[in-house]
C-alpha cells in the first residue's frame, strides 16, 4: 500500500527532518535539513506536522514513480521538475505548491537552479523509523533510518497514508531569490589566534566556495589567513556555521552534519539569518564576509522568522 519506487535516487538524496537534540555530548550532531526555511515551507504546504520527515536532495533530485496508491507532493527550493502522468502528459512543475499524484504517475526532479538543496515532501509523511527521536540520516555515521544511508536506486518509499483526491495548495508569496554574496558573521571565539593581517584578509578578501563541499562542511579557497598562535586549540564543542581555519589558512565552514568536537581555531561564525542562504551557495561562487554584532544578528534572525511566518500565512487552495 502507498508505495513509491525510486527509479533514480539523485546525487545526494536523503531523509531529513529537524534533527536530533541534546545528544552532542555522546558525539551525535543535530544534523537534519540544511535549509530550514525550505524544509518548513514544504511541510506547511502539505499541512504536515512541521517536523515531518521528507527527502532532501542536492543538485539532481530523485525520479520516483507511484507504484501503489495515490499521494500528494510538494517541492520547495529553486527546483526544475516534471510530473509525467500515466497517460504520458508531461506537466512542468512549479515549486511551492502541492500536486496530487495517481498510481503510475512519475515525478522527475531534474535539477536545482542557482542553489544546492531542494525538498520533496509527501502529505501525511513517509513511514520511517525514528532513531533518537528523528528520521534525519547522517550518512557519515550511518545514523538514522534506511541503515543511515542516502537514498539509492530501486529503494521503496512507504507513505504513512493514502491520499484521496482533494484540493491542491499554493503559497501565494514565495521566498525572495537571494543573490547576495556578502555573508554576515559574528566574531569567532578564537579571534586572538589570528594576526591583524589574517583578520583583514578574512574580512576584506573574497573566498571561493570549493567543490569539496557537502552536508558536513564547506571548504573555501582564497588568500591564506595568517595565524599567530599554534593552529590547534583544546578541542571543544562545535556549533553549525562555525568557520575554522586549519594550518593551511583556508577556511572551512562547518555545516549541519559537522563533527561534534573540533580542535581548529574559529575566526567567525555565520549569523543564523544567513545560514540557509550560505549553505545553498554553489561551488565556484565568490563570497565575502561582513562582521555584525549580537544585537544586529538577533534583529536579522527575528526578521527571517517573521518573513517565513508571513510566507506560510499566504497558503491558499488552488
Amino acid at each position: 500500500m502507498n508505495t513509491i519506487l525510486v527509479e533514480r535516487a539523485g546525487i545526494s538524496s536523503s531523509y531529513q527532518d529537524m534533527g536530533r537534540l541534546n545528544l552532542q555530548y555522546i558525539g551525535i550532531v543535530q544534523g537534519g535539513c540544511i535549509d530550514e526555511d525550505n524544509f518548513l515551507l514544504c511541510n506547511a504546504i502539505l499541512q504536515n506536522n512541521c517536523n515531518e520527515g521528507l527527502i532532501e536532495f542536492a543538485y539532481q533530485g530523485p525520479k520516483i514513480k507511484v507504484v501503489d496508491g495515490n499521494c500528494k507532493i510538494a517541492i520547495t527550493g529553486d527546483v526544475i521538475f516534471n510530473i509525467i502522468k500515466s497517460s504520458g502528459t508531461v506537466i512542468k512543475g512549479e515549486c511551492y505548491r502541492s500536486y496530487y499524484l495517481n498510481q503510475n504517475d512519475t515525478l522527475d526532479v531534474l535539477t536545482t537552479s542557482n542553489s544546492v538543496y531542494g525538498y520533496l515532501g509527501f502529505e501525511g509523511g513517509i513511514d520511517l523509523q525514528k532513531y533518537f527521536g528523528s528520521v534525519a540520516v547522517n550518512s557519515r555515521s550511518n545514523l538514522g533510518p534506511n541503515n543511515g544511508k542516502k537514498l539509492s536506486n530501486n529503494d521503496k518509499i512507504q507513505l504513512k497514508k493514502n491520499i484521496y483526491a482533494s484540493n491542491e495548495y499554493i503559497l501565494r508569496r514565495i521566498p525572495e531569490k537571494n543573490r547576495n554574496t556578502t555573508i554576515r558573521v559574528l566574531e569567532g571565539p578564537q579571534e586572538e589566534y589570528f594576526s591583524n593581517n589574517g583578520l583583514t584578509t578574512f574580512y576584506e578578501k573574497s573566498f571561493l566556495v570549493s567543490n569539496l563541499t557537502d552536508r558536513m562542511g564547506m571548504r573555501l579557497e582564497g588568500s591564506k589567513i595568517d595565524l599567530v598562535k599554534s593552529p590547534n586549540i583544546k578541542s571543544e564543542g562545535i556549533i553549525k556555521g562555525s568557520i575554522q581555519v586549519p594550518a593551511s589558512g583556508q577556511p572551512i565552514i562547518l555545516l549541519s552534519d559537522h563533527q561534534t568536537i573540533g580542535g581548529y581555531p574559529k575566526i567567525a561564525i555565520i549569523a543564523s539569518a544567513d545560514y540557509d542562504h550560505l549553505a545553498q551557495t554553489l561551488p565556484g561562487t565568490s563570497l565575502k564576509f561582513k562582521k555584525i554584532n549580537l544585537r544586529e544578528a538577533n534583529i536579522s534572525y527575528q526578521l527571517k522568522i517573521k518573513t517565513r511566518k508571513n510566507i506560510i500565512a499566504s497558503l491558499q487552495k488552488i
Binding site: 541534546n22 552532542q24 555530548y25 583544546k234 578541542s235 556549533i239 563533527q259 549580537l294 538577533n298
Partner: protein, 228 residues
C-alpha cells in the same frame, strides 16, 4: 569555577573554565552539563538544542526563537559553585578487553622506538592506567581519555592512515581513544577491542559517558574473535 561566559554566534553560549586540561576542571564542566541537562528534562529551561562538554568548556547551542543569550547567561550564572563541586554520581569504571596481538597493535614498534620502552613495558603501563573520559565526540561514541603516562608520550603519525579498523585502541600525546567506527586517523594504534562502543539499534546506544573511567585488560586473538 566558570572564568567567563561568552556568546558563540547568535545561538551559542560558551562557559569557559580556564585554559588547563585537568580532570578536576573537567569534572566541574561535566557537573554543570548535568545540572543544565536536569533543568532541560524538568522543563526548567526551554529551547536548548545541545550542550557539549569538552576539556575546559561547556558550549550550549540554543534556539533564539525560544531563549536569548541574556536569559541563558542568567541561568548559568545562578548555578552555585558548591553544586559544581558535588562529587558526580553514577561515574562508572569500565574494564575493556583489548587484543594487543601484532595483527592489531600495528604501531607498538613505533611507540617503542619513540619512547625507548620495550613493547611489554608499553602494554603493562597501558593496562595499569586508570583512564578518565574527558569528553565524547568527534564521531558518535568516540571517547577522549587521559591521562596517558608521560613515558608513553608519542606524537601523531605525520601522515594519517586512510582507514583504521573499528574498535582500534589508539594513543597520541597524553591521550588514549577508541574508534567506534572505521575511520581515517593519525593516532598510534596499540590494539583492538571487540566491544562495540556505539550502536544505534541498542537500548543503550552509547556505552561510555563523559566523566566515566576506563581500564584495559589483555585478551588473546582467539578470545577477541569469540567476543566480536
Amino acid at each position: 569555577m566558570i572564568k567567563q561566559i561568552l556568546n558563540f554566534g547568535d545561538q551559542g553560549l560558551i562557559c569557559d573554565f580556564g585554559d588547563e586540561v585537568k580532570k578536576e576542571i573537567n569534572l566541574k564542566v561535566i557537573s554543570l552539563f548535568k545540572i543544565i541537562n536536569f533543568k532541560i528534562k524538568n522543563n526548567e529551561i526551554q529551547g536548548i538544542k545541545n550542550c557539549t562538554p569538552s576539556y575546559n568548556k561547556l558550549i550550549i547551542n540554543f534556539n533564539l526563537e525560544v531563549i536569548s543569550f541574556q536569559q541563558l547567561s542568567k541561568i548559568v550564572t545562578s548555578v552555585q559553585e558548591q553544586d559544581l563541586n558535588k562529587i558526580l554520581e553514577n561515574q562508572k569504571t569500565w574494564k575493556i578487553p583489548v587484543c594487543y596481538d601484532e595483527e592489531y597493535g600495528i604501531d607498538q614498534k613505533r611507540i617503542s622506538e619513540y619512547t625507548g620502552l620495550s613493547i611489554s613495558e608499553i602494554l603493562d603501563i597501558h593496562q595499569k592506567t586508570n583512564f578518565y573520559i574527558y569528553m565524547i565526540g568527534f564521531m558518535p561514541g568516540f571517547p577522549y581519555m587521559g591521562d596517558l603516562d608521560d613515558k608513553l608520550y608519542t606524537p601523531r603519525l605525520e601522515t594519517p592512515r586512510v582507514e583504521i579498523l573499528d574498535g582500534s585502541v589508539i594513543i597520541a600525546e597524553k591521550f588514549c581513544a577508541i574508534y567506534p567506527y572505521k575511520s581515517p586517523g593519525g593516532w598510534n594504534i596499540v590494539g583492538r577491542t571487540p566491544i562495540k562502543l556505539f550502536d544505534q539499534h541498542s537500548k543503550n546506544p552509547c556505552l561510555l559517558f563523559p566523566g566515566d573511567n576506563v581500564e584495559f585488560y589483555k585478551i588473546n586473538l582467539e578470545e577477541f574473535k569469540k567476543l566480536v
